[in-house]
């Protein structure tokens, strides 16, 4: 006998959900994989192990992870200020957080490029700073290369430019996932901790932060996922040098422009699989860190 459920309509709503998910997500993805399957395993392997693809993969996932991490920390800070303090202009600041959502990404990309270019508002200082480091410390290796890039080109047209663009677009996700959770915390648990002798730092680390961790990870995941797929804002600031500042989405578009549809599909499929694996892992991690599921 079927188990009776308290909330009726499980069959109907489940059926509807599956159909909808299929239409919106699964069918397009299946089409992509079918296209990619036009090439054999050997060709897949050859394509995916070319130095250009590997470099783009490293840059895409590396810069996305770094940007999402920075967004997480800065997002926590900004949310803290927005939720915990009342000051003139708070609402304005609150509304500003959403701007990266609303701005066309190309506009964001062009603007960021101008600002961070060697003669731009911020870029000139970065450039000067890097030159100073170069003359005084002469760093070598990877770091030396980065500093040299910064001195010559500001923060634009370098992996750092990619990172800046991805930070810009990922930041709102963290704030908007954290905000409701932080607003719901309430003052009482902090006061309880204070009467028990905890100082402000302990209250933050042992009482507030653990309650925010699930939302922080969700925010990180959203920012990370968005950054991996980001195209519009990055292509302007990165300069798109193969092996150096080329991201995977751009590489895919480059394949398409040369009518290499299968190659594009293969790279896209591989990118999707890696993204899915990473998101799944983060999800598992979140469940482990989330006190609600222990």
């Amino acid at each position: 006998m079927a188990k009776r459920r308290v909330i009726p309509g499980f069959g109907l709503s489940m059926g509807f959900s599956i159909t909808y998910l299929s239409l919106i997500i699964l069918i397009p993805l299946a089409a992509l994989f079918i296209k990619a399957a036009g090439l054999g395993w050997a060709e897949w392997w050859n394509l995916l192990t070319t130095p250009r693809v590997i470099a783009a993969t490293k840059l895409t996932f590396g810069a996305s992870a770094a940007a999402a991490s920075v967004s997480m920390v800065m997002g926590l800070l900004v949310t803290w200020v927005l939720v915990r303090y009342d000051f003139p202009g708070r609402r304005l600041l609150d509304a500003m957080v959403d701007l990266p959502f609303a701005l066309p990404t190309a506009v964001a990309g062009i603007t960021l490029t101008q600002i961070y270019a060697p003669n731009g508002w911020i870029g000139q200082y970065i450039s000067q700073c890097a030159s100073w480091i170069q003359t005084n410390y002469q760093p070598g290796g990877w770091l030396g290369g980065q500093v040299e890039d910064l001195a010559a080109k500001g923060a634009a047209y370098s992996p750092i430019g990619v990172f800046i663009a991805l930070t810009f677009i990922g930041f709102p996700f963290v704030v908007r996932t954290l905000q409701p959770v932080m607003e719901d915390l309430g003052a009482e648990i902090e006061e309880a901790a204070a009467t028990l002798g905890a100082n402000r730092w302990i209250v933050f680390r042992r009482v507030i932060l653990p309650l925010l961790v699930p939302a922080l990870i969700t925010g990180f995941t959203l920012a990370f996922a968005r950054a991996i797929g980001e195209y519009g804002s990055v292509i302007f600031i990165s300069g798109n040098l193969p092996m150096k500042t080329e991201i995977l989405p751009l590489l895919i578009v480059a394949q398409l422009e040369q009518f290499k549809y299968e190659a594009a599909a293969v790279i896209a499929s591989a990118m999707l699989l890696v993204s899915f694996a990473l998101l799944f892992l983060i999800n598992l991690l979140q469940r482990r860190l989330d006190w609600q599921h222990r």
Partner: protein, 332 residues
């Protein structure tokens, strides 16, 4: 440890939440702050705890003669139990209770084994043995309340402050937990100040009752004292069911329902009694409540024992003679 509250004022913006409050809470006593919602009870309790500070001026809080007015909450050695418990929901019950000990500086922190022993001891004290590995959301309201209490006691506070400790519980749990708290208090003898808006709770539980109204203290005294000799109509009315009887000259007096005797109309004595008609009868418990209408049209509520009601065999519409006992109070 005694608590002395001296000339405390507290305003929020331009709203006065406390006006010139002075109060002595004797060492080892169980004192109730009783008053309607919004009268300033929680604010006073929070000022004693150091979670709120009184307006700058003469206001002082003394623990056992020592001025703690400027001492932050964490250094006052108070156990505070919040109305909604404020348990740490990401920690187990054991971690919740151990929190106060675990945040002590390393030099003062007890060894792990000792903390464990203390947790077991406290769980036993609040009758929650075996629940140490649970999380707050797995417990009932009454159990959470006792976890909050154990957590507050773990730091061996000098005074215990409870904000509406039974406010969020259902009537049954409330009553049993109330009795338990009284016994518990007598066992550990900790100076305790608790807030309530329930007069029955205050009268049954406390050694000393402080009645508050509109940011001020209305009356302080032992429960019996306050009940028998209320200093104002407000206290009279707040402490329980009361009849307000107007006289023809415009004055009025307060009479509690159990301070009225009832007899057959045949026993009517014009010197001391009044005639009345039974309007309504409610007799579902050991105490029967009658609503009677006096000859001048005023209604009175009367409480008599079920036994007496059976003996009199009264029905609605019957005429009776009522006598108001001397202990009742003439009104202001």
């Amino acid at each position: 440890m005694s608590i002395s509250i001296k000339s405390i004022n507290k305003t929020f913006g331009n709203y006065a939440a406390l006006e010139n409050i002075s109060l002595e809470v004797p060492n080892g006593s169980l004192t109730a702050l009783l008053g309607p919602s919004g009268s300033g009870k929680t604010t006073l309790l929070r000022i004693v705890a150091g979670l709120e500070f009184s307006d700058p001026g003469e206001g002082r809080i003394l623990f056992h003669g020592e001025d703690v007015s400027e001492t932050p909450a964490g250094k006052r050695g108070v156990g505070f139990v919040f109305q909604h418990y404020a348990l740490f929901r990401h920690m187990t019950i054991a971690e919740n209770i151990a929190f106060g000990l675990s945040v002590l500086p390393r030099s003062l922190r007890p060894a792990k084994a000792e903390i464990h022993a203390r947790i077991s001891e406290l769980l036993k004290l609040v009758k929650l043995e075996g629940l140490d590995k649970r999380r707050p959301h797995e417990l009932s309201g009454g159990q959470r309340q006792r976890v909050a209490l154990a957590r507050a006691l773990a730091i061996q506070p000098k005074v215990l402050l409870l904000d509406e400790p039974f406010g969020a519980l259902d009537a049954q749990v409330r009553k049993s937990l109330r009795r338990w708290l009284r016994v518990f208090h007598d066992e550990i003898g900790l100076t305790t100040l608790f807030v309530t808006h329930d007069q029955e709770e205050a009268l049954e539980l406390a050694d000393q009752v402080v009645v508050m109204r509109n940011a001020r203290i209305e009356q302080v005294g032992k429960p019996q004292e306050i009940y028998d000799h209320p200093r104002s109509p407000f206290v009279y009315e707040f402490l329980g069911n009361v009849n307000k009887l107007s006289a023809s000259n415009g004055s009025h007096r307060y009479i509690r329902p159990h301070e009225i005797e009832i007899a057959f109309a045949a026993e009517y004595n014009p010197e001391t009694d009044r005639l009345a008609k039974i309007d309504h009868l409610f007799s579902a418990g050991p105490v029967a409540t009658l609503s009677v209408r006096l000859d001048d049209g005023q209604f009175l509520e009367v409480e008599i024992s079920r036994k007496q009601l059976d003996e009199l065999a009264l029905d609605p519409g019957d005429e009776v003679s009522i006598r108001i006992m001397d202990s009742s109070k003439s009104g202001v």
